[in-house]
Amino acid sequence: MSEFVLLSEAVEAVMSDGDAVAMEGFTHLIPHAAGHEVIRQGRRDLTLIRMTPDIIYDQLIGMGCAARLVFSWGGNPGVGSLHRFRDAVERDWPIPLEIEEHSHAAMANAYDAGAAGLPFAVFRGYRGAELAQVNPAIKSITCPYTEEKLACVPSIRADVAVVHAQKANARGDVLFEGIVGVQKEAVLGAKRSIVTVEEIVDEFEGTGPNAVILPHWTVGYIAVVPGGAHPSYAHGYYTRDNGFYKMWDEVSRDRDSFRAWIKQHVLEGGPQDFARHAAAA
């Protein structure tokens, strides 16, 4: 049953050191404001789960919040490397980062299975792919009818899912639209959840043809954070700040400039800053 709180209260209430956390958003609606709050609250030893651990996870990893990363593509989309992620994997800085690496198909199926309450997902994948040899979580299963050998992976059922959405209504139902990614599955599969939203509305009206609605009884805490996806975007509210993604390549290359940026914009900032950033994008 959803509850409206401040973002800081939500993170305090649901996320502990050592939790498995899925902050999702496939390019769109990435919960950046919530990620900053996790950094401010200094969570440690997290298992971070995300198909595309882009800037938001680069920041968490660079600040030493994560002990483990489950992922399928770790880059700065359209720009290049994630320097903090690489520094952690290649040079154990600031702390070692264990990785569990998958393909997108595997993680998409694993989220789907998690939402469906299943312990594992079956798919036709990883054929001839070397990841199956270096990731012991990838197993195979034989179809009882055709004898075809298929891949399987454990389902994703995070301790905490964190997502950003366009709207909540007063009852706490949540609406996403545009590119909807795996957020529904991440929330339905997780034990607890935080949803940041652009705004609270009376009714969901004029929604697009691929709207996803999560009823209030499937959502944990809701925090209103306008602009909370910046530098990602919120379809119908603000566009992607492509310049920020390019700028991040420079800022994050160097450990000191990274830390200075985090100090200024995260540690000394807050969710209230996001509306301004999104408006300027």
Binding site: T27, H28, W73, S81, H104, A105, V180, G181
Partner: protein, 273 residues
């Protein structure tokens, strides 16, 4: 992958990069359903749609089916991909019903490293457990490589990218040669064409090895040998790739100009947050 500055290999009236994109675009047919990777594949696929293949269906893994962006997306999930799509589905549905469902005729991929059998590495340079360079990883590619009807690859040609042995098999091409895909239970055709800035390579029907079947105007066989990390073979009847037409070049340059204008970093001084 970072791209080299444009114009590095400039020819009379078009660049090598343009030649590559135009050649890659031509590979797509009007009735293809194409699963598009970001970067060069996206450029080629959109150019095809804007020129000879207006009926081409473009699919990006973010869930957008039949999208028609006016500029090239910077990411796989730019808002315009959704706004101009016939429909947008969830990412699990994309990978389950659409890719695994066997409905895609062409997967269009790029690579960091490729070998003569079209096996692709986008995971690591060096050892997996102790990487020299940690690349972004496979993303959608491992299953694109096996689920799409066939695979086209577009990448700039260099000894660093076209290697004798890739460091990690992110995505299966033809494995170690003919019969390997079948042995692994894969029923799709795999890599059939590779378009670079120097030439077109085609998978040999017998051996499955990439052989040079067409050389771009002004490029020599020696240049291709020098920029290939394996002992590259040439078809008996190597052709010269037709030059870009005026219409192709105009469409490509318009597309890139629109894209650059749309993605320019705002000049507001500090890019906040």
């Amino acid at each position: 992958m970072r791209q080299r500055p444009e114009g590095e290999r400039t020819m009379s009236d078009y660049s090598a990069q343009e030649m590559m994109s135009v050649t890659a675009a031509r590979a797509l047919r009007n009735d293809d359903v194409c699963f598009v990777g970001i970067g060069l594949p996206s450029e080629a696929a959109n150019l095809a749609r804007l020129t000879h293949a207006p009926g081409l269906t473009l699919i990006y893994e973010s869930g957008t089916l039949g999208t028609q962006p006016s500029v090239l997306p910077l990411s796989i999930g730019d808002g315009e991909l959704c706004e101009t799509a016939l429909t947008t589905v969830s990412v699990p549905e994309m990978f389950r019903y659409w890719l695994q469902g066997g409905r895609i005729t062409v997967g269009f991929l790029g690579a960091a490293q490729i070998d003569r059998f079209g096996n692709i590495n986008t995971t690591v340079v060096g050892e997996y457990g102790d990487p020299k360079v940690r690349l972004p990883g496979g993303g959608g590619a491992p299953e694109i490589a096996t689920s799409c009807g066939e695979i086209f690859i577009v990448m700039r040609q260099s000894k660093r990218g076209f290697v004798d042995k890739i460091d990690f098999v992110t995505s299966l091409g033809h494995g170690t040669g003919a019969g390997d895909r079948e042995r692994l239970g894969v029923t799709t055709r795999g890599p059939t064409r590779l378009m670079s800035d120097l030439c077109i390579m085609t998978s040999d029907p017998e051996t499955k090895e990439f052989v040079v079947t067409s050389i771009h105007p002004g490029i020599t066989a020696e240049q291709i040998v020098e920029n290939t990390g394996w002992t590259v073979r040439f078809a008996l009847d190597v052709e010269e790739t037709p030059r870009p037409t005026k219409a192709e070049l105009a469409a490509l340059r318009d597309l890139k100009a629109r894209t650059e204008a749309a993605h320019r970093v705002p000049q507001t001084g500090e890019a906040a947050e």
